[in-house]
Amino acid sequence: MGHGSWDDNAYAAAKTFRAAKGIDDFGYTSAMRGTPSAKWKAAPSMDPFGVTARECRDSPDHADSTPIAVLFDVTGSMGSVPKIMQGKLGKLHGLLQRKGYVTDPQLMFGGIGDADSDRVPLQVGQFESDNRMDDQLRDIFLEGNGGGQKSESYELAAYFVARHVVTDAWQKRGRKGYLFIIGDELNKPRLEARHVKRVIGDDIGQDVDPLSVYRELARKWHVYFVLPNKSSYFNDPAIADHWRDVLGQNFLKLDDPGAVCELIAATIGLEERVVDLDQALVDLAEVGSAAESRAVGKALVQVGASAGALTRSGTPPMLDGPDDVALN
């Protein structure tokens, strides 16, 4: 009951039944694709506009909730990766529970696009601790456009999480949540006030340096950027340099996008000091494929090697941008 393997099976069962009936796993995207692009919009449950806060709260069943947000780039440069993510991420909760890496994980998923050129540049769901997260994933609109400027609106997503997510983990226990941004491009050079206004509804008055947004975010969140293979800029050193500047060692390259769940689980296990890298890889080999485990091992070598040096509240290095976001 409520165990990981049951969750996994139930998730897989729902997917099997839907497939048998011909409802595909990307139902919302299929529905949107059938309408003119002028009418494209986020599913109501995924629309960040006017949202005061997405909440990750404790409950009698889950008294020690751990917030985990996974926001992935859904633009064209990501190629097939968003579909792979969407198909695999539903397993994440079961994996985290089964491995006991964190207490009471609650997951929130979202999609990131390009505020300069996309109809739906940001989508953010709710924190869920059961298979409703599966519905959330199916409701993410894979718009697939993007601007072709080698940058996406990651900073807009970062701003939303910094300002519009509240967690009992932080408020009651001073514990950070986990934010994984999965993408393949640079932040926009500025977080533009007009985009914040249009997409989220906040009036922030002026444009803001993305670095200051990440600095604010890092107070309450462990932030990781995952660059998966099969995306456009996997081997572009400019991307790696950019994200290392922003997040330091929390920039992870992943050979096999199918291993994203395992990477997230192992990263959290390491950060929580529940496992070391070797044990995490043994754990992963038990549940996933050998290839996935190898990909995760490779991605985490750097994190694992310096895990001893990780500090739980470490602020990413080189955050020296202008601190002009009015911090609450």
Partner: protein, 468 residues
């Protein structure tokens, strides 16, 4: 076997006789409209091997690899999550749209994660006294369905199990298409089991999952078997073995299921069918319970590729062919029309034809309530059995319709009726013999086991009156 006749396949042992492969062989042998499951649930494990392909059938009928659809009758306990898993396994073997091959009676009971958790919690609590349950919630599903009918309340002991909370009506497959009704029943189920298993499972999640299940499979009500039977031949696939039957098995090592052909006959509503009893050339069982002819040496000689110790079921055991139990099983079926004999490649050469207990020799199980205890302390008398098929045909006066000398479909042979040795004897020759060994109040016929050859000429082992 005449192609037009419906066939009911039952196991004459403690399960694992080879029913699945027999069903597959029958389906591959001639046109079959549907395989009908008439008992049990997701605990069934019927191995079918066709060349490179192997599948352990659980809820799908064992005719699936032969392309035959499955009907899960109202006597089956349906577990949707496991059904989905099995569907994916079959798809991986190349079966196209497996769920499209399944039809389910709306009245079939649902086995839920609550039942599974309760089953395991109870079996764990029994410790050394485990019943040898499969841990898949089957008994619990049948048990919970009893509670409302019996008007049970929290704290009552029903069939030896304590009622943990206030029970409600049992959810059925038909409820899955009606989220409101389903939620009501699942809420009651969750509350009832809460004291035993906690409240870790979200009912919301199950409601949406079961809704998707209802969308994906065809459910029917009314006389689906009748409708199917009118279009062609049906094969009824029994789960488990008659010696585990809820009424005729040896308690407490029994299943909550009518394993005998009774359900299948009821579903057929008087339509003619032949009963085919399946046995290995030796006796096996999983887990606890009596097995008089048990011989550990056999285990080493016949290792099982697809049978091992189950976490909740216990060890895999083997013994010599037990004609006493076999006769008992045939009687429990109300007679059978033919036998299927599997594992002819396993060169057993002994059979038990009688037991010794308390210095008395008996060839039939005594008519007494403590059969389990009796079987545990009796000593089998063994005799040589060089040719199991010939021996069984002689001793039971029944034709062997299917033989198997290996796990693959190619090792199975469906035999045409043919005159047998001793055809001049009454009842031996023509095909539709049915041996009635006097069940249910009729006088139990004396059955004299002879040697494999020795008694053959003397009306050997003919049991009671022959009827059609």
């Amino acid at each position: 076997m005449a192609n037009a006749e419906h066939v009911i396949v039952v196991g004459l042992g403690f399960g694992d006789e080879g029913k699945g492969a027999v069903v597959d062989a029958l389906c591959a042998d001639g046109p079959v409209v549907s395989v009908v499951r008439f008992n049990g649930g997701a605990q069934a494990a019927h191995n079918v091997v066709v060349g490179e392909r192997h599948h352990t059938f659980s809820q799908f009928g064992s005719g699936t690899l032969a392309g035959v659809p499955t009907f899960l009758s109202r006597h089956v306990l349906v577990e949707p999550i496991a059904l989905a898993t099995e569907s994916r396994e079959l798809a991986a073997l190349g079966v196209e749209d497996p769920l499209g091959l399944v039809t389910i009676d709306a009245d079939a009971l649902l086995t839920t994660p609550f039942h599974v958790a309760a089953n395991r919690a109870r079996e764990d609590a029994r410790g050394e006294g485990r019943h040898g349950s499969c841990g898949k919630g089957i008994g619990e599903t049948a048990w919970y369905a009893l509670l409302e009918r019996r008007g049970a309340v929290a704290g009552d002991v029903v069939e030896g199990q304590e009622v943990p909370g206030t029970p409600g009506p049992a959810p059925t497959v038909g409820d899955c298409a009606d989220p409101k009704a389903l939620r009501r029943k699942l809420d009651a189920l969750a509350r009832c089991y809460g004291p035993l298993i906690g409240d870790g499972q979200s009912v919301d999640e199950l409601v949406s999952l079961y809704r998707a299940f209802a969308d994906a499979v065809r459910t029917t009500s009314g006389d689906e078997v009748g409708r199917l039977a009118d279009t062609g031949r049906l094969v009824f696939e029994g789960a488990q073995g008659v010696l585990l039957d809820e009424h005729r098995g040896f308690h407490p090592h029994t299943t909550w299921s009518t394993v005998t052909p009774d359900n299948a006959r009821a579903l057929l509503g008087g339509r003619a069918a032949r009963v085919l009893g399946v046995t290995r050339t030796y006796q096996t069982r999983h887990g606890a319970g009596p097995l008089p002819t048990e011989d550990h040496a056999l285990l080493a000689r016949f290792p099982e590729r697809h049978n091992g110790a189950g976490e909740y079921q216990g060890a895999w055991r083997a013994g010599h062919l037990d004609a006493v139990l076999l006769r008992y099983a045939v009687a429990a079926c109300g007679g059978v029309d033919g036998l299927a004999v599997t594992h002819l490649d396993a060169p057993t050469s002994w059979v038990s034809t009688a037991y010794w207990a308390d210095s008395t020799r008996c060839v039939d199980l005594p008519d007494r309530p403590d059969l389990t205890g009796f079987l545990t302390r009796c000593a089998p008398e063994l005799e040589a059995m060089p040719d199991p098929v010939a021996w069984l045909e002689e001793a039971f006066g029944l034709p062997v319709r299917v033989t198997a000398s290996g796990p693959d479909r190619a090792d199975y042979s469906v035999r045409s009726p043919r005159p047998r040795r001793g055809a001049g004897e009454s009842g031996h020759g023509s095909a539709p013999n049915r041996v009635d060994v006097g069940v249910g109040g009729r006088a139990r016929a004396a059955v004299r086991p002879g040697g494999p050859r020795g008694a053959a000429g003397g009306g050997t082992a003919r049991a009671g009156a022959v009827r059609r």
